[in-house]
Amino acid sequence: MEPFALIRPANAESARLRVVGAPEQRHLRAAGVDLLDRLKEGLEAGKSVELIELKAIAGAEGQALRAIGPAGDGLGLGALVTLATIAASPALPAPFAALREAAGSAATPSVRNLATLGGNLLQRPRCWYFRSRDQHCLKKGGPACLAEGGENKFHAILGGGPCHIVHPSTLAVALLALGAEVTVLGAAGPRTLGIAELFALPRVDVRRESTLDVGELLTEVRLPAPRPGQRSTYEVAKEKRSHDWPLAEVAVSLVVDGGVIREPRVALGHVAPIPWRATALEEALVGQRPSAELFADKAALATQGARPMAQNAYKVPLAQGLVRAALHRACEIPIPE
């Protein structure tokens, strides 16, 4: 790993401006969990690297970046809030359980103590062709996606092409189900966008996973006020019980009102290059009485349109199974033994 300079910006705006000056070499660093991995593997430019230390931002702005608290009608979470904090936060009301569960499931306790909300949302994918210095894949400027016809067990079944990564953010899945928005600081000042608009498919720009402009800095995530009767849950399957990436994950948010499901939002992770809304399933659930039979019957809609590759067709039933489990828990119908 090449030596790098650590820059301590006075505020978010100066951090942003610093990156804009030389975006290839200058990286915003929160915990750096992912960034240092990429630097060690030689995936980023090696010379004259600067890490701009967001944790150095002090004062009211620094506090806001680390805070969880009321924001408008809803709840705001600063970009530097750690996963461990989210997992244990009393400020997150019960309807947002999916976010707590998601944050508590990721990586390991030691990583969760460091890793931040902003970093989790903007981390780069774990595709082994992308992550290996030995492989020149499409995302790194190569001629083709190497997962096509290669080792694609962990790749996308939905939304893939021309690159077939899965998005690595677990928090994004929960936030998508909860209808979150993010605030970003750009050249024209702060702007707000829906969490879904933060991510783009590879066919938009194969080199990037987010829609942020160069230097644009994610400062806050906002959750809308919980609706009466809202419940949410998160389910994940991994090959290892800890310190592993999901094979697939799902977050569900819904309201049971008058014995029927209202406002269902179902988001899938690790099945597509972006956190994936299962809209066909949502439509099928609206107004239905929750039951084990309903969930069994409709779960297949969660992966509607799936086009598995040679080694990942298993993600289809797996994601459906997770959806069933999440719906059971969200509707308080016991999962079968």
Binding site: L146, K153, H243, P336
Partner: protein, 778 residues
């Protein structure tokens, strides 16, 4: 003339079936510790004497060695799975910052056979400088056709990995002693001699029940916490010191002696502590990288000590692995469940090397079966060399034959445990299976699981059982242990063995404390240096059984010297009139002299004796089918839970029942079994080298996507030791390190089959495969 012998009548056998047995031990051998021996230290849980050093970070591993002026080495590795080196120039690297030496390892014209093979190396002031300098080395490679997939490599149209005669069948100290030999090649396939008895074709024709299927296992890389590492310092032009993370101090010495044409006494090797080894750490080099020569030559040229520590990527690609396997298994039985034939045809790839056999499981465990044949083939491929890996061949072989047995049992409505009990003849194994049946509540758990499946539950439960087979390979005369009792009363035991984590340090202190009436804390153990006397490599599960009896014999000789001195001090004519009590006091009739006072009477500095151990004597319950050594039996029972919605398999519990002779330190014996089980769970559920067929590179050379079991994946492990008193050596030690990992994955696979009612015939048992077996993947 017959050798002089001493005849002892000992209490020997398996607990509960102890008999008087008359044995002949070589003259001078002390009365072996048998079932009637009253032992104060041996057999009692004893915390590791060096545990506090490890916990405090005070233990010095090779990775921790810092010498004055020490340089750091880095190795340039081939990026191509097969290529010819057209030219190589290391000069530009010499001019890079901090670089003190640069050497070419490959030369123009060399054909390199796997991605990761040594090309060149540099030594610089820092590791970062050394790594950066590698980029300056100019190499022209001419890529050549390659194959990395085992099945593809077997095809007649596959590129041929080795030119005829180039591939030498290689063995290491980590292999099972007595196994293996040469073979004949056809394309990339080398046929090795088969193990056979009876006539399997006849046995299959006679069978009323038959089962035939193909089973595969993955390539499993060694993931010892401490990577391969070596530090070399030249003390003079013909004299050097080597620090090495090794399982065999003397194999390191011998390799350096050979490479640099030195005298054995001029090569000092030090391994005070080492961070794990599973068979890949013998010699100064790694199986796929010439570490000893690289570090030694860089140190020689730079005239400074050189530290060469591999990173995790290198550890995965060039330091050995457990070969994969493709096994065609055919078994036959009578309707009652008497096996008539077991036939295994195995292919496996040890990459560019040999050693992909599948062990003795199919051949040796179900010994009532009259017809058995195991045919093994090595398949060459352009991947890093396989090497010994904890019970080489056996976990793969156990998986195939045990799961095949369960499939046969399921087809015919036989209980898998009853089927096994019918077909084993080893009395200890039989006893273990019966014991497990009760302790594991086999019948109840099976019935509960069957009922659960019948109800159509989401999470299915299953139980499975599998056996292990290994031999007592304790070596005659290989370890010379010295025991010294000083005039100040201090006790030192010395031997040039390495403690790879099994706990031999503590066992040596215990043995000597037992004989000399001392406490464990009173005995200083010196090991980890060649100068402390010849010893064995830690392979074949032979460390304790080779070293502990030698330590006892040396301690007994010192004790005899002390008894002579005590006899004089207590006015006795003969030493035999004096006893040494557990409190260290020497007594004769009513008179006694305490340890400290007696030691002051030692003439000279110390009472010293060096001893070794003879070959096995005594009688054993059963020998290995093909050999003289005692057959070590074991079995494991697994309970699994399978989530049919996700395909995820959990292993909540393993019952591990193992013979280990006399467990010298039950605490560390159980710890070794725990380690074997955890390794087996990891192998069963997640570990897998993934090669990219198009680039010939490993895609997961890390510990993120090469997954090893973490704390939450570890089952509750219930260890039962069925002690067997063999009378084979003076302490009754036999091996346990390797047998403990043999049956784990097999038992888990059998339990998964039981749970879901369908076999998953490929390891690891990942959710994709389980969902496919459940018929849920379309």
């Amino acid at each position: 003339m017959a050798e002089a012998v001493t005849v002892y009548t000992l209490r020997l056998g398996l607990e509960g079936a102890i008999k008087d047995v008359k044995i002949e031990a070589p003259a001078g051998e002390p009365r072996p510790w048998d079932a009637s021996a009253q032992l104060r230290v041996i057999g009692h849980d004893t915390a590791r004497v060096d545990g506090h050093l490890k916990v405090r970070g005070a233990a010095q591993y090779t990775h921790d060695v810092r010498l004055e002026g020490m340089l750091h080495a880095a190795v340039l590795r081939s990026p191509h799975p097969c290529c010819v080196v057209d030219s190589i120039d290391v000069e530009p690297a010499r001019r890079r910052p901090g670089v003190q030496a640069a050497i070419a390892v490959a030369k123009a014209g060399d054909r390199l056979l796997f991605a990761g093979q040594d090309v060149a190396a540099v030594a610089a002031r820092t590791r970062a400088e050394a790594r950066a300098a590698l980029a300056a080395i100019k190499v022209t490679y001419r890529p050549a056709p390659f194959v990395v997939d085992t099945a593809e490599a077997m095809s007649p149209s596959a590129p041929v990995v080795h030119a005829a005669g180039d591939a030498v069948t290689r063995r290491t100290e980590g292999d099972e002693p007595g196994e293996g030999s040469g073979g004949s090649d056809k394309g990339n396939v080398r046929t090795t001699p088969s193990m056979k008895k009876g006539d399997v074709q006849k046995g299959l024709r006679a069978a009323e029940l038959k089962h035939e299927a193909t089973y595969t296992t993955q390539c499993h890389t060694h993931s010892a916490l401490e990577t391969h590492s070596v530090v070399v310092r030249w003390e003079a032009k013909d004299k050097l010191t080597v620090w090495s993370s090794t399982q065999g101090i003397f194999s390191v010495r011998d390799e350096m002696v050979e490479i640099f044409d030195l005298k054995p006494r001029d090569v000092a090797v030090i391994t005070e502590f080492m961070g794990g080894g599973f068979g890949a750490k013998f010699g100064a080099s790694a199986p796929g990288s010439r570490l000893g020569w690289i570090a030694g030559e860089l140190a020689r040229q730079a005239k400074a000590p050189v530290s060469l520590l591999l990173d995790r990527h290198e550890e995965h690609v060039c330091t050995g692995n457990r070969p994969d396997s493709i096994q065609r298994v055919a078994i036959g039985a009578t309707k009652a469940g008497d096996l008539t034939a077991i036939h295994v045809v195995a292919h496996g790839s040890a990459g560019i090397a040999t050693g992909a056999g599948v062990g003795r499981n199919a051949f040796g465990i179900y010994s009532a079966c009259p017809n058995a044949r195991t045919e093994s083939h090595d398949v060459f491929a352009n991947t890093g060399p396989g090497t010994a890996f904890r019970a080489p061949g056996h976990p793969q072989g156990a998986f195939a034959v045990e799961l095949a047995l369960d499939e046969l049992a399921a087809k015919s409505g036989l209980d898998p445990l009853a089927l096994r009990l019918r077909n084993v003849t080893h009395p200890v194994r039989k006893r273990q299976l019966e014991l497990g049946r009760e302790r594991f509540q086999w019948a109840k758990r099976r019935a509960d699981a069957d009922a659960r499946r019948g109800r159509g539950a989401r999470v299915l439960h299953g139980v499975g059982v599998a056996c292990s087979i290994w031999g007592d390979y304790g070596r005659k005369g290989a370890a010379s242990v010295t025991v010294e009792v000083g005039r100040d009363g201090s006790v030192v035991v010395k031997n040039g063995v390495q403690d790879i984590g099994g706990g031999i340090t503590t066992v040596l202190a215990m043995v000597v404390a037992e004989v000399l009436g001392r406490s464990v804390a009173d005995v200083e153990v010196k090991l980890g240096r060649a100068e402390f006397g010849p010893s064995v490599g830690s392979g074949g599960s032979q460390t304790t059984s080779s070293v502990a009896p030698a330590a006892r014999n040396a301690a007994e000789q010192v004790k005899a010297q002390l008894l002579e001195i005590a006899a004089k001090a207590l006015d006795r004519k003969k030493a035999s009139e004096v006893t040494l009590g557990p409190d260290g006091a020497f007594k004769a009739a009513s008179k006694s002299i305490p340890w400290a006072d007696l030691c002051k009477k030692i003439p000279g500095e110390a009472a010293v004796a060096t001893a070794t151990r003879p070959g096995n004597y005594g009688t054993a319950p059963l020998n290995l089918p093909s050999g003289q050594s005692y057959e070590i039996a074991g079995c494991q029972f697994a309970a699994v839970e399978v989530d049919t919605w996700t395909g995820v398999v959990r292993v909540p519990e393993i019952l591990a029942i193992h013979d280990c002779g006399r467990a010298h330190n039950p605490l560390t014996t159980r710890s070794q079994i725990n380690g074997g089980v955890i390794l087996g769970v990891s192998y069963a559920l997640m570990e897998q080298r993934v090669m990219d067929r198009r680039s010939g590179r490993m895609l997961n050379p890390n510990l993120e996507s090469y997954k090893i079991a973490g704390a939450r994946d570890v089952p509750t492990i219930d260890v039962v030791l069925t002690e067997v008193f063999t009378g084979g050596n003076s302490t009754g030690a036999i091996g346990i390190g390797e047998p403990a990992t043999i049956p784990t994955a097999a038992a888990i696979a059998c339990a998964v089959r039981h749970a879901i009612g369908a076999p998953v015939r490929d390891l690891p048992l990942t959710p994709d495969r389980v969902l496919a077996a459940l018929g849920r993947v379309t």
